[in-house]
Every structure is written in C-alpha cells, then in structure tokens.
C-alpha cells in the first residue's frame, strides 16, 4: 500500500502529517499486521496453515473467516484456539477478513460463528498441536505421550522443553488435516467457557478503532448515490426519465456518474459530493401504486400465492372436533428495517483487470461473487476486505453499497469512497418482510395441546441488489431456497408436543412489495407473536398458569431448561393470565414466551406497563434465558441476550416501515423511531451452560421468546389480545376501545 499524499496541516506552529494510511488501514492493534502475502482466495481449507500460523516469538495468528460485528466472535474464536493449542490468549491474535488472506467459512449469519466456526478452528488448532508435539518429540528426544504443554511451551519428562515458536520459527507447517488429531475433552477446558474480556472494546471506547467509515485511500473521490427518497415496489426499481446535469454546475468538481438507471455523483470534497447528490435534479418515472401501510396485510392475504405444506402429521382438522377449547386468530407483523447506526460505507478501486473493495459485508466471499458479476471480472480478480461498520443485524445495505462503490469506481476510473446517507440506508434496505399468520389450535380437558394449524403469508428475500438492478437492468429475483423465509417448524409446534400438526406457507410474490432480506431472527418475532399468544390463550381457556401450561406441553428437557431459567430469574408466581387486571390508568402485566431461530433454545419473561389513557406501553424488566449448548464465552452471550431483549422491545413497541402509494416514507430516526434510554427495560440475562452439548447460535434466539413474552404481558395487563404489532399508542388505544 502506498501512503497518501495529503497536505500538511499547520497546527500550533508545528507541521503535522494529516493522515497516514498505514494507521487507518491497519490501525487496530489486535488485527495488526497482515501476516502473510495475499493469494487469490479462498486459501485451501484442507491445509492447517490456512487457519493459523505459529511465529518465532511463540505467538500465533488465527485466521478466521467470520466477521466481528460487535458480538465478540473475534475474541471467542481465539478462546477456542487458545484452549486447543494450550496457549494464553495474550499470545494469540487474528487478522481482518480478506478474500486474499482468510478462509471461507461462509457468511457471518444464522448466528453461526461459534456453531460452525468453532469446530473448524478447534480442529485446525488440534491438528497444529499434534504436529507441533511430533516435532517436539524429535527435538526433545522424548515420546509424544509424555509431553505436556503450558502456554506454548512443550515439556518432556526428561526435564527438557521447547517453545512452539522455537520449533517452527516463522515457517508454515505445510501439513494437511489428518483427521486424527485428538480434541481436548471439555472437562479439561480452562479458557473456553470463561468470560474473557472482548479484545476490541478498549480501542472502540478510545476512538482508536478503525471503522469502515474511517478508512480512506489515496487519490480517492467522494461519491454518493442518487435515488428516489424511499424505495418503490421491488419489481418497479427506479426508472430515470431525465437528468439535469446543469443543476450541480456550481459545485466545485462535482460530476454525474451514470450507468442506465444507476446514478451517482462524485467530488473531491465530501461535503461537495453530499451537496451534489442533494441538488442534482433527476426526474423519475412514476412507479405503480403500492397499497400503503393500511392496506398491506389485506393485499398480501389476497395475493396469488405459491403454497407449500411445510409439515403435516396426524389430522389437525379432525382433532379440533370435540376438543375442550379451540382458538382461531389472525396476527400481523410489519416490515422492519436493519437500520445500522452508521449507514453502510464502502471503498472501491476498480481497474480494467482487477478490483479491490473494502466494506462491512457479513460475507466477504459472497460479496466478491456479486461484485465480479457486475464488473464482468473473474472472481479471483476481485479482492474484498472487511472493516467493521456499525452493527448490521442481517442483510442491510452492505452488498448494495459495495456493488454501488464498484460501479462508481469503474465509471470514475478512480478509487471512490461511497458513504450511504441516512435516507439511502433507511429507504433502500432489504427489509424484514411483513407477515400475516393465522393459527387454529386446540387443547383437551387435561390442558394438553391436541391440534395446531398454521397458515402464513409473507414474501421472499430478494436476490438482486438495487445497484445491480438499476445499473444492469437486472430483473428482480427471489432468493433461492425457502427454508428460513417462511414458516419455521422449529417454532410453530416444534417447541411443544403436538400430535396433530399442519403448517402451510403461502409465498406472496415479492416484486409487488419491497426488497426483503434476513433481519436478525428472520420472521421469528412475527411467528412467536402469533404462536406464543395462541399457546397463552389455550392456557387461559384451560384455566392454567402460562408457565405451568408450557411445562405440561413440553417434552424436550432443553426447552424446559430455558423456560425454568426465565421463570426463576423473574420470580414467576403462578396465576392465570389476565386474572388480576386493575382498573387504574397505568396497569401492569407479565408474560412468558419461548422461541428460537434455528438451533438454540430461548425463553423470556417480560414485565410491562400499559397506560390506558395514552396507549403507551413500556417494558420495565425483561428476562432472557438461552441454551446454546457449550457457551464458549458466557459473558458475551449475556451481552447478546441484553441486546436481544432491548432490540425486541424496540421492534415490538416502535418499529414499522411506513410507506405511501409511491414508496417508503421511513427515511430517518424520526419517521422510523427506535427505543430510547428513557423507555429501556432493565434486563436480566441467564446462560444455561451445557458443556457437553455442541455450541449453537446465541445472537438471535431470545428475540422470538421475548416478542411472545411482551405480547402475553400485554394481555395479562389489559385482558386484551394485540393482533398486530408494533404496539404503538394508536394501535393500543384502538385495541383497548375494542
């Protein structure tokens, strides 16, 4: 990398070099320095060197293919390596994600860093340890069985010892995975399972952490995209009628960059680029009318769907007949957005035969494929590097911004830095899709669930990003595969024993609606809002306490474990839901819920307050419990649970993408409000540690449980069921007035 030539700044008489790229690009102490030459990635996953390098100074670099998003995986995966290598954490470091450096472990989604990445790192470290012990055995002239390792020092019974670093120098191991390296039994764990502090926090609070938004490269232009404020129907894209380039003539160096309907502006000075994007006069084609928020669910429900029976067992319809109690209700959930706190940002340097793109993607290899397609380059000619931005919580605009930057750099013939504005990010997100769920369920006289039927309507996630759609006239397309985008059998009926079950998914055509994407715990909040209220309703009709009813209908001890943990943390006292409703202006209630995303077990209790005059609902205290198998770092998971509880409160009380007939109108934090300090609940987090179970995800699973708990608490407080969320004052007052 070349250092940029920046003007010198006069400061207090002294000359100060304004900027140093090496600091900006590689300024994070725990990520420094890049430790091996780049190769067209991914590096060979079958070679141990791909995963780690031992250095002469008896430290090690662990190459991790997962993105640090603030969840702590860049520390937790080092714990896994430290444990297996028998090295202290202080001797280990990692490097940033880079398609020319780090292995392809798949994207950082589905809370998979530990679930999928943990075993990979553990196995690689075990293979390295075995190879190192074989080397030590020769060097120390001692049998391998008698060797012990402490903090990277191998000792033999004969009193001799050698460090890993002395064995390897800075040379790679050059060994493939043997499949024979023994893994340390969990009973001997010293580092895994403990709350080692996060390695990124000190720099983050000191202002030394280099976020994506801080990165600059030499000779770059600042660019912005120009789009209608707020996306239209996905199928409509945004068609340019005309551009008046004279409208930005007064702005120094500003120019228009255009490829078909994709428009950007560039300037040397960032503020000039912001100005130009605002000022450029573009006439857009009027898009086809949307139904607007009010008509949304009815229109979805009435659309021509693709239907699929996801799961069927027994005969649910027959079992309803003659059951003690049957409930049948429809529930509705809104579009919600990722809303990363810092809008996505990317730097691209596209040359005729290669490209470098720096961005905050959750999947460097996936992003690389998309960029190569758009630029018409071979995949191995594109390099994608990761810098952490602000939390994305799923498929926010990181691919869109990366692709947009690449297109703009290609058009400009220079490196560019593209910072999405707040309205770009809010207005052009891949929103978590809206949902309609209809559930009929029945219980017998003993309070046992006998039948459960679910019909759900929502559209798919979107495959083609806005950048590609506009620049290449690419037709919009739905994400392939259906597993996570419709009804989840894990949730609906999967938590409780239900002998007669029928789950049907009605896929709504996505082109008529907004771009969709996986938003943290995708669709789970909507599913739990419907399902966990149904369970609560069955409990109440049976005259049984909500917690006790769930205990009665669970057969899996891990579900029982989190249910009990949440109930215990909240000091749950048995009584039937809604049996203690006060007449005061402000009423209180408590609710319980269970939920998951894919693999782990989540339980939650919510204590809320409802103001019956204003319709204001506030969570006072929320309790969340998770069983994610072996918790590599329980402290990180506690932080994740706290975040999940607060974010769920935000999504259940406040968050709703609004739109009119033309397009999205939620373009900032006023039109898309989220929870604030003064509305924030106290949180209590419980990690159910299961050392003997495989680790599974811990970044999402409490959210669904918490959504159910909040909805059930509302009923407990008011005796009224909310059928649609978010529970805004207006919606609450309408429900209370019946």
């Amino acid at each position: 990398m070349n250092f940029p030539r920046r003007e010198f700044l006069k400061a207090g008489g002294a000359l100060i070099v304004g900027f140093n790229l090496s600091e900006a690009l590689f300024g994070q102490s725990h990520l420094d320095p890049v430790s091996r030459p780049p190769v067209p990635g991914p590096p060979d996953a079958k070679m141990v060197d791909t995963w780690l390098a031992i250095h002469a100074d008896n430290t090690a670099t662990i190459f991790i293919g997962f993105a640090e998003l603030g969840q702590g995986n860049s520390t937790a995966l080092l714990q896994v390596a430290a444990e297996e290598l028998d090295m202290d954490m202080s001797r280990l470091k990692t490097v940033r994600l880079d398609t020319s450096i780090t292995p392809n472990q798949g994207g950082t989604y589905s809370s998979a860093s530990i679930q999928r990445g943990g075993p990979q790192v553990r196995t690689a470290a075990a293979e390295a340890r075995l190879a190192l012990l074989q080397m030590a055995s020769k060097k120390l002239d001692a049998p391998i069985e008698g060797l012990t390792v402490s903090n990277g020092v191998v000792s033999a019974g004969n009193g001799k010892s050698v460090t890993y670093g002395e064995l390897t120098g800075d040379r790679p191991l050059h060994i493939p995975f043997t499949g024979k390296a023994p893994l340390k039994p969990f009973t001997q764990y010293k580092v895994v399972g403990t709350g080692v502090p996060r390695n990124d926090i000190p720099d983050k609070v000191a202002g030394k952490y280099v976020y994506m938004q801080h990165v600059r490269v030499p000779d770059m232009l600042h660019v912005r995209v120009v789009r209608p404020r707020g996306q239209r129907a996905y199928g409509a894209g945004a068609k340019v009628v005309s551009i008046d380039e004279s409208s930005i003539r007064g702005i120094p160096g500003a120019r228009v960059l255009r490829r078909n309907d994709f428009i950007g502006v560039a300037a040397e000075n960032e503020w000039d680029a912001v100005h130009a994007a605002r000022q450029l006069k573009v006439t857009w084609e009027t898009p086809p009318a949307l139904p607007g928020n009010r008509g949304m669910h009815d229109a979805m429900r009435a659309s021509k769907t693709t239907d699929r029976v996801v799961l069927e067992k027994g005969n649910a319809a027959a079992a309803m007949v003659g059951a003690a109690h049957v409930v049948s209700q429809s529930y509705r959930g809104p579009y919600q957005m990722h809303g990363p706190f810092g809008p996505n940002c990317a730097i691209a340097d596209v040359k005729p035969d290669s490209a470098l793109v720096i961005c905050s993607t959750q999947d460097v290899y996936g992003t690389r494929t998309g960029i190569a397609r758009i630029l018409g380059l071979a995949v191995d000619k594109v390099r994608v590097q990761y810098y952490e931005g602000s939390g994305t919580y799923g498929h926010s605009c990181y691919d869109d911004v990366a692709q947009s930057a690449a297109i703009l750099s290609q058009l400009a013939g220079k490196p560019v830095r593209l910072q999405f504005m707040r309205w770009d990010e809010h207005g052009w997100d891949n929103y978590g899709p809206a949902h309609v769920g209809e559930i009929r369920a029945a219980v017998d006289a003993a309070g046992r669930i006998v039948a459960y039927e679910y019909d759900g309507w929502q559209h798919n996630w979107s495959l083609v990003e806005t950048a590609e759609q506009l620049a290449l006239n690419r037709a919009p397309a739905a994400w392939p595969g259906a597993a996570a985008q419709g009804v989840s059998a894990n949730h609906l009926g999967g938590i409780y024993y239900v002998p007669n079950l029928r789950l049907i998914n009605h896929q709504v055509p996505g082109g008529d609606w907004f771009k969709g994407g996986w938003l943290r715990s995708p669709l789970d909040l909507s599913l739990a809002f419907a399902s966990e209220q149904t369970i609560d309703e069955l409990a109440r009709l049976s005259g049984i306490d909500s917690y006790e009813f769930r205990r009665r209908n669970i057969v899996n001890e891990r579900w029982l474990g989190v249910l009990d943990a949440a109930a215990k943390a909240s000091n749950w006292k048995p009584r039937v839901a809604g049996s203690n409703i006060s007449k005061s202006r402000i009423v209180t209630g408590r609710g319980i819920g269970l939920g998951t995303h894919l693999a782990s077990y989540g339980g939650a209790v919510a204590e809320i307050e409802v103001n019956r005059e204003t319709g204001q609902v506030v969570a006072k205290h929320m309790y969340g419990a998770i069983d994610a198998g072996l918790a590599v770092n329980p402290a990180f998971i506690e932080n994740q649970i706290g975040g999940q509880l607060v974010q769920t409160a935000s999504r259940m009380f406040k968050e709703e993408v609004t739109f009119n007939e033309t397009g999205v109108t939620s373009l900032d934090w006023n039109s898309y409000p989220i929870l604030r300090f003064d509305e924030c609940p106290e949180v209590t987090a419980v990690v159910v540690q299961r050392l003997d179970q495989r680790s599974s995800g811990a970044g999402e699973e409490v959210m669904a449980a918490a959504a159910g708990a909040i909805a059930n608490a509302f009923f407990d407080a008011t005796g009224v069921r909310m059928r649609e969320y978010p529970l805004t004052p207006k919606r609450v007052l309408a429900a209370l007035r019946g």
């Binding site: 006069k10 609070v205 801080h214 602000s390 939390g391 706290g642 975040g643 006023n670 609940p681 949180v683």
Partner: protein
C-alpha cells in the same frame, strides 16, 4: 467557496480550508482525521457525531464549521485531557473515567454509538456528578443505540460517577 478557517480542537489550533457551511463533522473526519465523531444520520437525530463545544454536547453533523470559530471543541480523543484540566489533575489519564467504565462493564457491542454515549455521559457527569438513574436516562435519551446496550451504558455511567467522586474505580 473554501476559505481558511482557524478552529480549536482538543486544545490545539488548526487552520483548515473549508466552506463556512461545511459541517464540523466533515472537517474533523476528513481534515483532522479524528475517529471519535462519526457519521450516523447527518440530521442531529442519533448522536454518533457528538463533540463538546465549550463543554456542551453538540452535534457536529449539523454544526457549520464557521460556528465554532473562537470556541473550544473537544472530541472523544481529547476527553481525557479535558477531564484532567477540569479536575486539575497533574497527569492526564489514558482514558476518561466514562471510557474506563465502558470497558469495565463490557458495555459495548458494535460500539459505533459509543462516541456519542461517552461524550454525552462526560458532559452529564461534569454538570451532575451523582445523577440518579432517572437523570441518566433523561440526559442520554437523545443518543440512540441500535444494538440495545442502554442498560450497560447506564451501569457504566453509575460506575464512572462513583469513580470520579473517589469511590472504587
């Protein structure tokens, strides 16, 4: 049109070339290369760009650079020295007590909002060294956190308050 403007940031004078309407944030980020204040919304709604101007928390994304002429701007990077000067400490600590408390509470997730959180909390504790929880929530409510770390921020502010008034650090 760009003109030379002198601004005082973290107790140093800087001559920068910028049009008078350029938001202070762009000058701090692009000319002074500071990493504390950062772009979040450009609308003064979120607090990620917060700085202190004469000790008052200010949104640098909507403050024209010309408006801070003759005033003293403190960014996240300058908070330890700002604190030391206020407290008349002979040695500037590496971190402001609020920063240290954020580490001790392991409050951070992505951390992008923590510039604003720390700047605002420092302003609060300078004015009100022993705030109640309700006072903390009220003071901080203009600062958003998308990761949902508010409860830990509150704990950290309590911890910093204790440390600053001579309690356990």
């Amino acid at each position: 049109m760009a003109a030379e403007i002198t601004i005082k940031v973290n107790e140093r004078s800087w001559k920068v070339a910028a049009s008078a309407d350029t938001p202070l944030l762009y000058v701090l980020a692009n000319e002074l290369h500071l990493q504390g204040p950062r772009f979040g919304c450009g609308l003064a709604q979120c607090g990620s760009c917060s700085v202190l101007v004469n000790g008052v928390e200010t949104r640098s994304c909507v403050t024209p650079v010309a408006a801070v002429r003759g005033k003293s701007v403190t960014t996240l990077e300058g908070l330890p020295a700002w604190y030391a000067a206020r407290q008349k400490l002979s040695v500037t600590p590496a971190l402001h007590p609020v920063q240290q408390a954020m580490i001790d509470e392991q409050a951070v997730q992505c951390g992008y909002c923590y510039n604003g959180m720390i700047v605002k909390a420092s302003e609060l504790l300078a004015k009100n060294p022993r705030p109640t929880d309700a006072e903390i929530r009220t003071a901080m409510k203009g600062h958003l956190c998308r990761c949902g770390t508010y409860p830990r921020v509150i704990k950290a502010i309590r911890r910093a308050s204790k440390a600053m008034s001579g309690g356990a650090a």
